[in-house]
């Protein structure tokens, strides 16, 4: 390979500056495979970070080597006392805007699916309870999610559509959906136009 060196472009002509460490580490007169670096140099590269480095703005999580059941148990119990640990990246759904993103997202990856779904359902149930019978913490509705409204809308549409005339079932379903979602949008735009802060 060394005698073909003159016909080839120098490695650092086309390698992006994002990976200078490869070039610096392996630069020689001969043309070497720039990706054939040893692992320690890859860690020293500024472009790739190991998985347990916390993202900017997060606290570093507790030691990575903790066995998993203990960590997920901690998160599960803390979600009842505070509403920050609840829905972290568990299924990617149900993330409320008001919740803080913590670095422990990867810890919910190994929990059973039923646990994931039930956590979201319990949240929806808690908010529904607050709406129907307003005792308890009022700001539970602040960390909103759209699964609850979707479930209610679907339930209402399906029930009303089942009870409608035979040739109108589709129309009824459509109208309920339109009224619920377009109605919310219209009311929100109306509030914004009237000067409210929504």
């Amino acid at each position: 390979m060394s005698n073909s060196h003159n016909n080839l472009i120098e490695p650092d002509d086309f390698l992006s500056p994002a990976a200078p460490s490869y070039v610096e580490a392996t630069y020689s007169d001969t043309y070497d495979n720039p990706f054939e670096t040893s692992i320690p140099q890859r860690i020293n590269s500024p472009s790739i970070e190991p998985d347990d480095v916390p993202l900017p703005g997060q606290k570093p999580s507790s030691p990575v080597k903790t066995p998993l059941p203990k960590v997920s148990g901690t998160i599960g119990s803390s979600s009842q006392s505070s509403n920050t640990g609840g829905n972290i990246g568990s299924s990617g759904i149900g993330l409320g805007v008001g919740q803080a993103m913590m670095g422990g997202g990867i810890d919910t990856l190994d929990e059973p699916v039923s646990e994931t779904l039930l956590r979201d359902l319990r949240n929806v149930g808690a908010k529904l309870q607050q709406v129907l019978y307003p005792k308890g913490r009022k700001d539970i509705l602040k960390d909103w999610d759209l699964w609850g409204p979707l479930l209610m809308c679907l339930t209402l549409s399906i029930v009303l559509s089942a009870r409608a005339q035979a040739d109108q079932k589709i129309t009824v379903f459509t109208w309920i959906f339109i009224i619920v979602w377009m109605g919310s949008a219209v009311v929100t735009v109306n509030a914004k136009l009237l000067g409210g802060r929504v």
């Binding site: 109108q168 129309t171 009237l194």
Partner: protein, 260 residues
């Protein structure tokens, strides 16, 4: 002559956004017959430089409160003074959107109640007819938005200098009377329903004509007569549609044929 309104607006638009002031298409209305200098509107023009696609641009058409809307609704039912004076030169879009929406749902609900009472009296099973909601949606929204736009376009073509906002406000607030008419039409007498429809069409028709006449008369005599007849005809067609589709009087006893 068409610039006399623009004289009160500020001069140089910024290059980035569509300024409210000088580009004709940014302002959806002409200045109509607002010959007097309206300080409120010019101050608004000079300070508000919002792009036409933002919500803030349209917020100035929603600058009403409950008392004003109620006053305008009452003025459309009981015509005591010129509606344009009642609006005080600042027509809104709040009424012209929400009143037709209310009329749609009230029409559907009351006609369903009528038919269910009818079915109960004659002991037949009944389920509501959602196609009436679709029909009401199409009819009322086209009457409240398409027809005023068409009339505005026609009068603008013939040089009447209309104001689109005023047209929309007239047609929108003019639909207010149909809400009490719908509710009262639940009572099951055909003659009463016909009387109510006639009163509703008459009141809103007179309201429309009286307030549109100054604008229409600025065209030539023949054209303004034709447009006037068109307005009356469309209004009459709406009244008949409402009567036959929503306030229809049917008796579904096994022996009697239904009578409209």
């Amino acid at each position: 002559m068409s610039n006399k309104g623009f004289a009160s607006s500020s001069t140089s638009p910024t290059s980035g956004n569509l300024s409210v002031n000088n580009t004709p298409q940014a302002r959806p209305t002409g200045f109509g017959d607002a010959g007097a200098f309206d300080p409120h509107r010019s101050i608004q023009d000079q300070t508000v430089k919002k792009p036409i696609w933002s919500i803030e641009y349209y917020a100035r058409f929603f600058d009403v409160d409950t008392a004003q809307v109620t006053e305008r609704c009452m003025a459309s039912i009981i015509p005591k003074q010129n509606f344009l004076e009642v609006m005080g030169g600042s027509p809104d879009l709040y009424g012209p959107f929400w009143i037709p929406t209310t009329v749609i749902f009230v029409l559907f609900v009351t006609s369903s109640i009528m038919e269910s009472i009818n079915a109960y009296m004659s002991s037949t099973p009944y389920t509501y007819d959602i196609s009436q909601l679709t029909f009401a949606f199409g009819t009322i929204y086209s009457y409240a938005f398409l027809v005023p736009s068409m009339i505005w376009g026609a009068t603008k073509y013939f040089g009447c200098q209309p104001d689109l906002l005023e047209m929309l406000a007239l047609y929108g607030y003019g639909l207010t009377i149909w809400i009490p008419v719908s509710v009262l039409s639940i009572l099951p007498w055909n003659l009463l329903r016909w009387a109510l429809v006639a009163v509703g069409a008459g009141v809103s028709g007179v309201f429309l004509i009286r307030n549109m006449y100054p604008v229409l008369s600025r065209a030539e005599a023949q054209t303004s007569k034709v447009i006037l007849i068109l307005v009356v005809a469309l209004h009459g067609i709406l009244a008949l549609i409402l009567k036959y589709k929503f306030f229809a009087y049917t008796v579904t006893a096994p022996s009697d044929p239904p009578a409209a």
